[in-house]
């Protein structure tokens, strides 16, 4: 399950570069999570997106 801390997000857009089908930017330049539970085929890109966020605004937790 993906979540974002919008107070931390600065709109670097690394997430969108890595996983464009999962992340977008809203009109305020903040991350917009399009797919909170991405397809398994997307997970490598999503993990890269999360780890490459310069302000650590994204987190990925196992779905309970």
């Amino acid at each position: 399950m993906l979540s974002a801390d919008l107070d931390k997000c600065q709109g670097y857009a690394n997430c969108m570069v890595n996983a464009p089908d999962v992340f977008d930017l809203d009109d305020d330049g903040k991350v917009d999570i399009l797919e909170p539970t991405p397809d398994p085929g997307e997970m490598d890109a999503v993990r890269e997106a999360v780890s490459s966020c310069p302000v650590r605004a994204l987190s990925l937790r196992d779905t309970p």
């Binding site: 600065q10 857009a13 464009p20 330049g29 903040k30």
Partner: protein
């Protein structure tokens, strides 16, 4: 720099068969003028339409001194932007590909495919930072047949107006690359002024001698057979096949032959019965240029014939590179102020030089 002071004399002499002053091919002052007055305002080939087919597709290039990125935006429109971030002037895109956004990888300023600034990290801490007013600078974009052109000038006249009657000529001469396969991109670094390489490709007077076993053997380059026509910004060449590839079963006179369209200042599009090329001469210095050629295979062409024909073109361009490099020393010498043109065989050079002279000297085109 003296040629401008003899403006009227030179213009008259060019009408009677004399060429552009030699110093225009050697002097860095003119090179700077040409970049500002020609390449900053000219339509130039960027890529094929199929490279920008889907939303998010982008292609980068440099037109004169202007780095450019062309995108297909989310609404399906072609957009042209100066590929320079509004922050620290780093490129916002590199190479080619498909992306939903253009992210400058230096500080992370991120633009939509339409060029609008979408985010700038830490901008909320910045007083008076009006993101909505910030947009990548525009360049003009146009389509000619299956090809995408761009012009660094955002207020340029439309491509189809500038290049008239190119669409009709492409149809009449059957110069179209739809469904043709892109087989490669080749670059020739030429130690000569960009005009020398361009002019060389605008005449085939030299073909019998320089390309005796290559282009001049493949096509009939006699003055009666090799047809050159000229328009304001456009020139064409048509030549019958003289010697078809060795494994071609059809007689040479049943083949369509070579057809080429030139768009001033530096774009060439050509097709024959087997191969096609789209090429651009890019100035890289007062006495150097780069000739970049996209090559294409006609649908269904025999692979062996295609390889033979593309090798013939490659050898032809290599021969051209040698002769224009030889010319450069002559242009540098200052001992021949203006060469004499062969106005019937080299009519397209006359067209090119008239247009180039006008661009360098026209008040309207001064920046």
């Amino acid at each position: 720099m003296t040629a401008t002071t003899n403006h009227d004399h030179i213009e008259q002499s060019m009408q009677s068969g004399w060429q552009l002053p030699a110093e225009l091919y050697a002097d860095p002052t003119y090179y700077a003028l040409e970049r500002a007055r020609i390449f900053d305002h000219a339509w130039q080939y960027v890529c094929r339409a199929d490279q920008l087919q889907n939303a998010g597709d982008f292609v980068t290039t440099t037109l004169g001194d202007t780095p450019v990125v062309i995108t297909r935006d989310r609404e399906g429109a072609l957009r042209g932007h100066v590929n320079v971030c509004l922050h620290r002037l780093h490129p916002v895109a590199e190479g080619a590909g498909c992306k939903k956004i253009l992210q400058c990888r230096y500080h992370g300023w991120t633009y939509g495919l339409d060029g609008a600034l979408k985010s700038a990290p830490r901008s909320q801490q910045e007083p008076d930072f009006d993101k909505s007013s910030m947009k990548l600078r525009n360049v003009s974009v146009g389509m000619l047949g299956d090809l995408v052109f761009a012009n660094p000038d955002p207020d340029a006249a439309p491509l189809l107006e500038y290049a008239a009657p190119a669409p009709d000529l492409l149809e009449k001469l059957e110069i179209g690359l739809d469904k043709w396969e892109h087989t490669g991109t080749f670059a020739y670094d030429v130690p000569a002024n960009w005009k020398l390489f361009t002019e060389n490709a605008l005449e085939c007077y030299h073909c019998a001698l320089v390309h005796n076993t290559t282009y001049g053997n493949a096509f009939d380059t006699d003055s009666e057979s090799y047809i050159c026509d000229n328009y304001e910004h456009v020139a064409t060449q048509v030549a019958p096949v003289a010697h078809a590839p060795s494994s071609e079963g059809r007689p040479a006179d049943s083949l369509a032959g070579f057809r080429m369209l030139f768009v001033w200042p530096s774009t060439f599009v050509s097709v024959d019965d087997y191969a096609g090329t789209v090429a651009r001469v890019q100035p890289t210095g007062p006495q150097s240029c780069r000739f970049v050629v996209d090559t294409f295979a006609r649908p269904g062409v025999d692979k062996a014939i295609l390889d033979e024909w593309l090798s013939m073109y490659d050898a032809t361009f290599a021969e051209d590179k040698i002769v224009v490099a030889g010319q450069q020393a002559g242009y540098n010498s200052g001992r021949v102020a203006q060469g004499r043109l062969m106005t019937t065989s080299e009519s397209s050079i006359a067209m090119f030089q008239r247009r180039t002279w006008r661009a360098i000297h026209s008040e309207a085109e001064r920046t």
